[in-house]
């Protein structure tokens, strides 16, 4: 502990943030958007699809939520090349980069969690509103799109953002694929220079500051948009 080397952190800041953190934030942002879109689709199918479709959607959500993210990351890392081969009709498994593989994994994984949030949100809107939409001559999808969902997103925004903070922390697990996300970058320098204590402490501090500040922000937002009842 006596020889804690601050300089190693200073020298690697560029690599840590421009390589590592940029990857982490891009992955978080794209996976959150993809996950919310896919999750909303799953929630709608579950609530208003036919029997078979909603059972399939429910099965998917429950399956994904029962599995550890690490296992799902491995699943997709090995599965995506074969899926690509099947989709493109190519003669051998296609090569998929680390970023694409990670992005697909996180969208598919987080969609299950976002879908539960959206499902709770949709269920919280009084049924009369959907009925009113239909009475106005909207199709069920239009009523969902223009009447229900805008309210759901507003009510559920804090929960969706909190889940995104969890997602931000979860992206550190791409470490298992030796990808250079923020933790991966810290780990590579830590191992190259034998500075595990410095790099992992610094990584922990950065994750803490970002997550703590973000969750404080969500709390303020929650107070700001709370509907007085």
């Amino acid at each position: 502990m006596s020889n804690f080397d601050f300089e190693i952190i200073g020298r690697s800041l560029g690599y840590l943030f421009f390589e590592g953190m940029r990857f982490t934030l891009t992955l978080t942002f794209l996976a959150a958007i993809g996950g919310v879109i896919l999750g909303t689709g799953l929630a709608i199918i579950r609530l208003s699809g036919g029997r078979v479709l909603s059972a399939v959607a429910a099965g998917y959500v429950n399956l994904v939520r029962a599995l550890p993210l690490v296992l799902v990351i491995f699943w997709f890392y090995f599965l995506v090349p074969y899926l690509g081969q099947w989709l493109t009709g190519s003669s051998r498994p296609i090569h998929v980069g680390g970023f694409a593989s990670a992005l697909i994994t996180f969208i598919v994984f987080e969609a299950a969690y976002f879908s539960e949030i959206m499902r709770a949100g949709i269920a919280s809107i009084p049924r009369g509103q959907a009925a009113a939409g239909l009475a106005l001559g909207l199709t069920p999808l239009q009523s969902m799109r223009y009447v229900i969902l805008p309210q759901v997103f507003r009510i559920m925004l804090p929960v969706l953002l909190t889940q995104t903070i969890v997602l931000f922390q979860d992206t550190s697990l791409v470490y298992v694929l030796s990808i250079t996300d923020f933790l991966g970058a810290a780990s590579k320098i830590a191992q190259r220079d034998g500075r595990l204590v410095e790099m992992y402490s610094f990584a922990a501090l950065v994750y803490f500051i970002v997550s703590f500040a973000a969750s404080r922000g969500v709390q303020r937002l929650r107070a700001l948009i709370a509907v007085p009842r």
Binding site: Q85, S172, L183
Partner: protein, 250 residues
């Protein structure tokens, strides 16, 4: 995989792989996975005990009157909630020993099962923050009159928690606690990064030895689903066992 066109290079399935000897020389590939499952369950069980004990204490602190206790509890919760579990495990495994006096650090690093001990403590504390949030919101969900009634009966603060508030709070939060237990089990897989030979790590090892990646992962997936199902059914049984007659279910 799905279409067998001519010379397409596909995946060669071999479900018999589980009964073949593993190159580790002490059993079949199936044995590897079963050992991994055992490690997963043992690690999760011990981590869950830590999470419940520490989480209950912190959760109670958070609901005490005054400022200091709730502040300390909130600090604990924020600390363990705002760092990824993987980073926390690295802190326990690589950083924590360096903060100790040298002889202790050496002893700690030379523990034969250091990754197991680290996983139990790291996951236990990580989950304790989540349990604490559930406990304190369970206590806060109780009508204020319960605390007042206990005080009026002459119970001390400790007795109020022990005999009035906690028994009801635990019942209220049984469903969310169940999902935290399932999270604990799933989170043990993160400990493969510090070398714990749990289920996902063993499935990965089967894949590396035999190249039968999808069989190995399917087996692990089915095991996790079975754990989930059993835990969910057990929790449902427990909920009905401990239900207080006449106390409306929320």
């Amino acid at each position: 995989m799905h279409r067998h066109q001519g010379r397409a290079v596909g995946y060669n399935w071999n479900w018999g792989i589980f009964w073949e000897q593993s190159p580790e020389g002490n059993g079949t590939y199936l044995d590897m996975l079963v050992q991994g499952l055992g490690t997963t369950l043992l690690t999760a069980a011990l981590a869950w005990i830590i999470a419940l004990v520490v989480g209950s204490a912190v959760g109670v602190l958070r609901t005490l009157p005054g400022r200091t206790a709730p502040l300390l509890a909130s600090a604990w919760i924020e600390l363990f909630r705002n760092m990824p579990l993987l980073v926390q495990l690295f802190l326990w495994y690589f950083v924590f020993p360096d903060l100790l006096p040298t002889p202790w650090a050496i002893w700690l690093k030379q523990l034969p099962n250091a990754s197991f001990v680290t996983a139990v403590i790291g996951i236990g504390f990580f989950m304790s923050a989540r349990v604490a949030v559930q406990i304190s919101s369970g206590i806060e969900a109780l009508p204020l009159g319960q605390r007042a009634a206990a005080t009026a009966l002459g119970l001390t603060s400790a007795q109020t928690y022990r005999y009035v508030l906690l028994p009801m709070a635990f019942r209220i939060i049984l469903p969310p606690l169940t999902s935290e237990l399932l999270n604990t089990i799933k989170n043990t897989s993160v400990a493969l990064t510090i070398g714990l030979a749990e289920l996902t790590a063993r499935a990965r090892a089967v894949q590396e030895f035999s190249f039968q990646v999808f069989e190995a992962f399917t087996a692990a997936t089915l095991a996790y689903l079975a754990i989930n199902l059993i835990a969910t059914l057990a929790a449902r049984w427990l909920e009905s066992r401990v239900r207080v007659p006449g106390y409306g279910k929320a």
